[in-house]
Each structure stands twice: as structure tokens, then as C-alpha cells.
């Protein structure tokens, strides 16, 4: 009868009242939510908890990575040959473009020196691989295999071979979270290639981008390419953002809204490049500041911090 040699259930000793515990935990959760969403005070706590979850995550990732490796191993020789031919052709095209680019860059640098302006394009890049997209269905995010250990910092722009993918929004020692351009809270200063018209491109959350509040006579046509304008000091100038797909005009006729398809492969798995944020002076010259502006200046910077 070893099956019954247990203690009887503690009928009267049931710990603190469940309702009291419920109220305690609900209040804690809600305050955590507010602290995290409004003030972002919880990043250190999150980072320290990552040390607990990271080994578990690696254990779970292991079979997935193993499966991917097996899958890669099982490609046929024919596929490899085809890919090889395609890559050779692509390399030829790229080589020619690179040569042109070198000439252009040299010329550009010479001209910039003449103008005594700063070098605009960030040079240091770091390749990274998209591991998977975050399970959270409320945000457009992907996880990269590089973290603070490899020198990744918050705010770095991420691009792929087609265009801008997004921006690093959270870093742990061994991985980085990238918020995609298509996220609803993401925006990027851009300009139309054809005529240099400056604008801001917003994510819509459903996998597309949009340019809001354009004047109804703005010179933008369907099929125009939109590139980064580089005035934010984060994204280098001239990276592809998207292509204008359609126009949604406002019935009042004051503003019009353009829908863009993103240039980069959003949410696709593969290789991306982490760029160094371009360090342009972001502070206003002191001569422009007035006493009344100081208060608004601080609130602006807070909003900006949250948006990043």
C-alpha cells in the first residue's frame, strides 16, 4: 500500500487568501505594463532575465537549427549548380557596378572635400542572420544572431540586398531584436528619387508602408522609388525604402496618402547587414534656443526616445 502513504491534503492551511494574491499580482502586472510602455524603465530587468531564459532558448533552438542544417545538406547537386550559375552572373553584374561605384565614390569624396562637408555614408557594416521572427503577434520584429557581444548597439539600421529592413530596438548579449519598417510604430525620413521631395514613411502594420499627409498636389507618381533622405542621422542616405503602389486621396482634398510596397524582403529569413548609425549633430545650435523652447525641447526628446 505504498500508494497511500501520503500526507492528507492540508484542508485548513491554504496559504494567503487567493483573492488577496490575485489583487497583488494584477496590480503588479498593471504597474509593470505602465512602467514598460510609458517610461521603458524595465530594460535592465528584462536584460537580467534574458540570462535566465537564454540557455533554455538555446536548448529549444538546437533541434530547429539541426533540422535546418539537415535541410540544407539535402539539396541536390542540380540545385547547387543552378544557384552557382545564377550567383556567377550576379557577381559579374555586381563587379561592374562596384567598379563604377568606386569611381563615383572617389569623385564624390573629392567633391565633398571641396565642399568641406562631412562624409555622409557610414562605412562599417556587419553581416547578421535572421534567426526567426518574434512570437509576439502584435509587433513586426525579427531576431538576429548578433548581440552586444558582437558590438551591436540599439538604433542601428538594418538593410538587406534590396533595401532597408528596419532598426535594432533591443539588444541582449547574444541576439538583437529588429523592428521592421512595416511596424506600426516605425517611421523613416525619406525622399522621392525622381525629384528629391522630402517626406516621412510610416509602417502600417499590415506589411505595407504609407506616406501620410502629403499635399494633394505633391509630385509623386505610382511607380516612384522612395529612398532614405538621411536627415535623421540614423539611416544613411539613399537606401531603398519602397515603391509607390497606389494613391488614396482624402475626400476633403487637403491631403493625400500614398501606399508603398517595401523594397526589402520583410519577414523573410536570410542574411542582413547591420549598418553603423550615421553620427550627424542632432542638437540644435545654441543660438536658436530660446528660454521658452527649453521645456518643449525636453518633451520632444522624451518622445523621440520612446519612438526609437
Amino acid at each position: 500500500m505504498s500508494g497511500l502513504d501520503h500526507q492528507p491534503p492540508p484542508l485548513f492551511k491554504q496559504g494567503p487568501a487567493p483573492l488577496a494574491l490575485l489583487i497583488l499580482y494584477v496590480c503588479t502586472s498593471i504597474s509593470l505594463l505602465v512602467l514598460d510602455d510609458r517610461f521603458r524603465y524595465l530594460e535592465p530587468m528584462r536584460l537580467s532575465l534574458t540570462y535566465v531564459t537564454a540557455p533554455l532558448k538555446q536548448i529549444v533552438q538546437w533541434p530547429v537549427i539541426a533540422l535546418t542544417t539537415v535541410d540544407e545538406y539535402a539539396v541536390t547537386l542540380d540545385q547547387v549548380r543552378q544557384e552557382n550559375t545564377a550567383l556567377r552572373q550576379a557577381r559579374l553584374v555586381d563587379a561592374e557596378k562596384t567598379q563604377q561605384l568606386q569611381v563615383l565614390e572617389a569623385e564624390n569624396q573629392y567633391l565633398r572635400k571641396l565642399l568641406e562637408t562631412k562624409r555622409v555614408l557610414g562605412a562599417r557594416v556587419q553581416p547578421a542572420t535572421i534567426l526567426y521572427s518574434a512570437r509576439d503577434p502584435f509587433n513586426r520584429r525579427v531576431i538576429l544572431d548578433r548581440g552586444t557581444d558582437q558590438g551591436v548597439i540599439e538604433g542601428q539600421p538594418v538593410v538587406d540586398d534590396q533595401g532597408v529592413v528596419g532598426q535594432v530596438t533591443r539588444v541582449a548579449p547574444d541576439y538583437a531584436e529588429v523592428t521592421l519598417l512595416t511596424d506600426r510604430n516605425q517611421s523613416i525620413p525619406a525622399q522621392v528619387v525622381r525629384n528629391g521631395l522630402r517626406t516621412v514613411v510610416f509602417g502600417t502594420g499590415d506589411g505595407r508602408l504609407e506616406m501620410r499627409y502629403m499635399s494633394s498636389n505633391a509630385d509623386v507618381q505610382v511607380g516612384d522609388w522612395i529612398v532614405t533622405s538621411g536627415i535623421d542621422g540614423i539611416y544613411p542616405r539613399g537606401l531603398r525604402v519602397g515603391k509607390v503602389e497606389s494613391l488614396e486621396s482624402d475626400p476633403n482634398g487637403i491631403f493625400s496618402k500614398f501606399i508603398l510596397t517595401p523594397a526589402a524582403g520583410m519577414g523573410r529569413y536570410g542574411e542582413v547587414l547591420l549598418l553603423e548609425p550615421v553620427a550627424l549633430p542632432t542638437d540644435r545650435p545654441a543660438s536658436l534656443d530660446r528660454a521658452a523652447d527649453n521645456a518643449t525641447g525636453t518633451t520632444m526628446s522624451k518622445k523621440k526616445r520612446k519612438a526609437q
Binding site: G3, P10, L22, L33, L42, T50, V52, R135, N139, R184
Partner: protein
């Protein structure tokens, strides 16, 4: 087999060690990179609700809170989003336990569904207040998939309780 109070079969008590092991396994299954399928079940929610009903002295709102915070960290979601949902789910399960355990397994399903569905909707609501985008409609399939696993989960999670040390077919244990 006794999966509700109407059966007369006696069960061995659930071991706290086994309960914690199942919680860990559920957490690991939630870590799988399954973001491509938004309908993929929330294993942690299922196991928390299950043990909150079966042994509320081992798994209660505290366990739910800790697991919720860990889920928030690994998911990269808002701190407290999963925690709030799990805590409320656990409490609701505990309150409804006396009723649910008297029902046959299929009717238990109907009673568990609102708990898990409201838990999922609560997360949507929290993120909506925070100004994030709404998830795709497939996200709302997820609670139904989770609840559909209630029947297999009952048998799997109670397996050690069904096994007796010295089996005697004359006795009901």
C-alpha cells in the same frame, strides 16, 4: 479512470515535482520559433489552467505570474502582458474548479474555453491600449486550438496519477 468527480476510481496525488516539470516543458514548447503560425497553441496557458484546476495549492496565481513575466521576456512583448493574462486565467480556473471537475471531459472543454479565450483577448486589449497593431485573425484561432488540446493534455498530465505501484484488478485503485 477518474477524470471527473463522478468516477469512483481513486487516484494517486499529483507530485509537485512532476507538475513543475510539465510547466518547464510547456515553457520550452512556447519557445519554439512558431511565429509563422499564429494559431499555434499557448502551451503554458493550457498547463497553468490545468494545474490551477487540479492542484491549486501547487500552481496558483504566483506561478502564473512568474511564468508570464518569463514569457514576456522571451517574446519581447510588453512586461506584464502575459503575466496579467496568466494570473487572471489561473484565478478564474481556481474559482471554477469545483464546477469543472464535476463535468465529463467534453463539457469541461466548454467551460475551459471562455477562460483561455478571454485570456488571449486580454493580451490583445493590453497591446491595443499600448498603441500596437491588432494581430491577424488567425491569432484568435489560437485559444480554440489550445482548448482542443484539453482532452489529450488531461490524459498526459494525469498519467502518473493513473499508474499504481502494485496493480490489483480487484481493487478500484
Amino acid at each position: 479512470m477518474q477524470i471527473d468527480f463522478q468516477s469512483s476510481r481513486l487516484l494517486r496525488p499529483a507530485r509537485p515535482g512532476f507538475i513543475r516539470l510539465t510547466l518547464l516543458l510547456a515553457f520550452l514548447m512556447n519557445l519554439l520559433p512558431t511565429s509563422f503560425w499564429p494559431w499555434f497553441p499557448d502551451w503554458v496557458a493550457l498547463v497553468i489552467v490545468f494545474w490551477s484546476i487540479r492542484s491549486p495549492l501547487v500552481v496558483s496565481t504566483g506561478t502564473a505570474f512568474v511564468l508570464g513575466i518569463l514569457m514576456d521576456v522571451v517574446d519581447g512583448s510588453l512586461m506584464g502582458q502575459h503575466a496579467l493574462a496568466y494570473v487572471l486565467m489561473s484565478y478564474a480556473s481556481r474559482v471554477m474548479a469545483h464546477r469543472i471537475l464535476w463535468l465529463p471531459l467534453k463539457q469541461q472543454l466548454v467551460n475551459v474555453l471562455p477562460i483561455i479565450f478571454i485570456g488571449a483577448c486580454l493580451q490583445v486589449l493590453v497591446r491595443w491600449f499600448a498603441g500596437d497593431e491588432l494581430p491577424s485573425l488567425f491569432y484568435f484561432v489560437q485559444p480554440f486550438v489550445t482548448v482542443a488540446l484539453w482532452v489529450p493534455a488531461t490524459y498526459v498530465l494525469m498519467l502518473p496519477q493513473f499508474l499504481s505501484n502494485d496493480r490489483d484488478f480487484e481493487r478500484p485503485i
